[in-house]
Amino acid sequence: MSNPSAPSPINRREFIGRCTRAGIYVAAAGSIGIGFHQADAPRPQMDAATSMLQLPDYSVPAMPGKICIAHGADRATTVRQAFEALGGMKALVRPGERVLIKVNAAFASPPTLGATSHPELVAAVVRLCLEAGADRVIVTDNPINDPASCFALTGIRAAAQKSGADVIIPRDTLFEPMTVDGGRLIRNWPVMVGPLDGVDRVIGMAPVKDHHRSGASMTLKNWYGLLGGRRNIFHQDVHTLIQELALMIRPTAVVLDGTQTMMKNGPTGGSLSDLNPTGTMIVSTDPVAADAAGAALLGRTIADLPFIGKAEQTGAGTADYRSLQFKEIQTG
């Protein structure tokens, strides 16, 4: 460099061109660097409720609390007559509406063992909805065992499809984090809200079962099947969780199947000797009342089942089922 030669005119233009280009790069790098600069450490996800998702109230506003207890051995008959006693499915489902039936398909267990919703009952309720003019009926649940096997072995899939309903099997994209307003357990927890998109009416369907942890598994606990994630952790405070489920969703109606009640070894059962043919079907617009009525089938009182009292506290219904529009019928 002891003999620098001055840049020639061509080199100068080229130099200015390169200067400009370098200047643009510098400006780009600088703005990206400074623009994305974050002086603070990344925040860990706190327990703050970030999800604003809320489920709509699916109950029929005009309808006061109604409950019908129907006695009989044939599910299709008892459920039809029970709905009739409440004013018919048409009082609950308007023509053109979409209905979602949340069944219990928790275990890959045959219908005879009473651990899951009976396919005959599923088919009957689907037909009732379609007869009332529903545009589409969806049947779904988030099972404990493998979903495809559960829907197949319980016979629910076949029954639903045969009677004209769509079965939705859970998958990751159907879950969204949700926080229950007033709850401390269900905070930013994945809930299966995908199938509820565009649905107008929700009917919960559950068999009456003994449950070692919560005392009984009936229509209030049925909504556990909408939770995702590692939901077993809630067993440590299961009654409060069921209370929060009652806060989370207000269904149009619930169907509590006590045709065969699982008296012991619930919720999985596994033996016919666990079942008692109590021949009762309870249909209600009030899930707390339905559970309170169903407790007697298990030989338990409301005091034995703390979740009923807790759900009642939230205003989800009343345990005094006889105070509702109460009907008790015998079918053939």
Binding site: M1, P7, A22, G30, G33, H37, P44, F234, D237
Partner: protein, 665 residues
């Protein structure tokens, strides 16, 4: 460095009081300066207030200057964290000056240059020139860079693709553009314009289709793996973990205990291989492997100032390539992106032709690196594809490894893997030496990321220590305050940070399985109230035969039966009851001697009958862990006297950073 001896390069002309200084000398001073700075930063990274300990030394400055760290984290996380802004300075200077970092700052490069020079001393000139010729293999470092950046950019691409499908305004714009393109395609006649329009159409349709296809899928994910080969983290890692712990001896002691690091054989091997490869080709790592050098090559290819030939005078003697560090062919068409600004060619040129100036070399330049579009595409796609494949193992999901205990303040795993550059600073500074580089425990992505092992080190993860997070240059481990660590002041609701939970192995625990009193774990549990509590149990001791009462005197029981050695039974943990006599509560044995068993007091004196059976019981305190209080610090595991496979072990359940791993409500 000419004619066989070293010239200092600094001359002082006393008559004129002028000073002239060779640029080579300056470069050497700069390299030595940064090398010593690197060594100093490595040495002082121990927790303490002495001048040779951490104090406030900016030990991460060289990592922060490294723009690959900044760029990698920016692509993976969308943020440029704190001190990594220094990398912007390096980038700006590189855009103007070229690869000055490689030749003047990088301590790893300085090491390679020194070893390469030593290796070259015995070679003659033509051998040296041959060693410095350009090789096509020098494009491998660009492939490595593109691959690593591809692995980091997956999430950003997913987000860009989602824009096409998720936002209605964007959809509207796309529809309009497509409409215009359609009209244009019909209307316009010129070929080049038609090519433009069809190209644009292809891009937009491709973008929308890809967006739909990948929406919600796991096809695209980001992971930061630049730390594997980025020279600054690599050098820190190698020195921190494989060299400095070995230094502690009688004259120099940098840390209190003997520090060990499981899993560092591979790190050491890579380091020594890189160093010794310089014996074959000088600056082997810099030329063929270094992704940071590749980044500088790309950034600096159109630098304002570059090394090159002046207009006339070159005789093609090749002397300039004798000590060319970058193997950039200065004697012919110089490859600007390979030139590391060592200035050796300028010094060696006998004809004053080489210079560092603002105009291109008279013999021509190849600015761009020598990679083809095909190679670029292959590297990028491989990088993009590698991460989702690695995630298939489920290490960040259901198949998480409970043996992977991360330092307190770590981010949740998926975010952690987007920030950790595997520099080893946390492992170096940890005062109890419990952090070590992972092998495959946390999957392929987690190689050399920090995991805790409480069997080694001095005392588990110290409760009042916040060192690792405050050293981490990328906030993969957040810099937490003491209040957050302990769950005090504003963090009282959240409680202390938990890194795991201790589980008592009842089949190995001394009181549980072996009837031996011990509550070392409970004693050492540092939280208050203790997370380990005990329940008292008295168990009958197995003896060879039965003891019968033969007499009593004051507080002493005389007995027939097997001998009871005082060494074992008079430790204060053994008690007696006498059958069919009151009281039922066992009474402690104080001493055993030729005069019988001495008791703490003798309530049997009224009720015991001669011949009654004496039962010796051992009083055990059985440890239980309270999951609501345990923070997983590992002191219990460290102190457990069952020294092999410990009888109380910490695993990552209930760690604060992952709500899905919660054990209790």
């Amino acid at each position: 460095m000419s004619n066989g001896y070293i010239r200092i390069g600094l001359t002082l002309k006393t008559e004129h009081l002028s000073l002239s200084m060779s640029i080579i000398l300056t470069r050497r001073i700069s390299q030595i300066f940064f090398f010593l700075l690197f060594l100093w930063f490595s040495i002082v990274t121990t927790l303490g207030e002495a001048w040779w300990q951490l104090r406030g030394w900016p030990v991460n400055w060289l990592l922060e200057l490294d723009p690959l760290v900044g760029l990698g984290t920016l692509l993976a996380t969308g943020t440029l964290y704190a001190g990594l802004l220094w990398g912007l300075l390096t980038i700006l200077l590189t855009i103007v000056l070229g690869r000055f970092f490689c030749g003047w700052v990088c301590p790893f490069g300085a090491l390679h240059q020194a070893v390469g020079w030593l290796a070259n001393r015995k070679r003659n000139t033509s051998q040296k020139i041959k060693a410095n010729r350009y090789r096509r293999g020098q494009t491998i470092k660009y492939i490595i860079l593109i691959f690593l950046l591809g692995a980091a950019v997956g999430e950003l691409i997913a987000r860009l693709l989602r824009v096409a499908t998720s936002q209605s305004t964007v959809d509207a714009i796309i529809a309009i553009v497509l409409l215009l393109c359609g009209i244009g395609a019909v209307w316009v006649n010129r070929k080049s314009w038609q090519q433009w329009i069809s190209g644009l159409l292809a891009v937009i349709i491709g973008w929308v289709l890809l967006g739909l296809f990948t929406d919600g899928s796991r096809l695209l994910a980001a992971s930061l793996q630049t730390g594997l080969l980025d020279p600054i983290p690599l050098f820190f890692r190698s020195v921190n973990l494989t060299l400095l712990p070995l230094v502690d001896g009688r004259t120099i002691t940098l840390s209190q205990g003997t520090r060990i690091y499981p899993g560092t054989v591979a790190i050491g091997l890579i380091f020594w291989t890189a160093v010794l490869l310089n014996l074959i080709i000088p600056r082997f790592y810099c030329r063929f492997i270094c992704p940071l050098g590749a980044l500088f090559g790309i950034l600096g290819k159109n630098a304002l100032y570059r090394v090159g030939q002046k207009a006339e005078g070159c005789t093609a003697c090749g002397a300039c390539e004798r000590y060319c560090e970058g193997a950039c062919e200065p004697s012919s068409t110089i490859r600007t992106s390979e030139c590391v600004l060592c200035m050796n060619c300028i010094d060696d040129c006998r004809h004053a032709v080489m210079g560092y100036h603002a105009y291109p070399s008279a013999a021509g330049e190849t600015a761009a690196p020598d990679i083809t579009k095909r190679e670029f595409a292959a590297a990028l796609v491989s990088g993009l594809a590698a991460v989702p494949l690695a995630r298939m193992a489920g290490n960040t999901g259901e198949n998480w490894n409970p043996a992977v205990i991360r330092p307190p303040g770590s981010l949740p795993e998926a975010q952690f893997l987007k920030r950790c550059i595997k520099c080893g600073q946390c492992m170096r500074v940890c005062p109890t030496n419990v952090i070590h580089p992972a092998g495959l425990q946390s999957g392929l992505e987690g190689i050399w990321t920090p995991v805790l092992n409480f069997r080694m080190g001095s005392s588990g993860c110290q409760r009042g220590c916040i060192a690792c997070g405050n050293l981490c240059p990328t906030a993969a481990i957040r810099p937490i305050s003491l209040a957050e660590r302990l769950g005090k002041d504003t963090f009282t609701d959240q409680g202390p940070i938990r890194i795991g939970m201790a589980f008592v192995d009842r089949s190995r625990c001394l009181p549980w399985a072996m009837d031996r009193p011990c509550i070392v774990c409970q004693e050492n549990c540092p939280v208050s109230p203790k997370a380990i509590f005990t329940r008292e149990e008295y168990r009958p001791v197995r003896l060879e035969g039965t003891l019968h009462l033969s007499g009593m005197q004051d507080n002493r029981l005389l007995f027939d039966g097997p001998t009871l050695p005082a060494q074992r039974f008079a430790t204060g943990d053994y008690y007696v009851t006498i059958d069919d006599s009151h009281p039922r509560l066992p009474v402690r044995i104080i001493d055993i001697g030729p005069n019988g068993i001495s008791l703490a007091d003798n309530p049997f004196v009224e009720t015991a009958r001669t011949g009654a059976r004496i039962t010796v019981l051992v009083r055990l305190q059985l440890p239980f862990v309270d999951p609501a209080s345990c923070i997983g610090c590992g002191v219990c595991e460290h102190e457990c006297p069952v020294k092999g496979h410990r009888a109380i072990r910490v695993t990552a359940e209930n760690e604060s950073r992952e709500p899905r791993h919660r054990l209790v409500l």
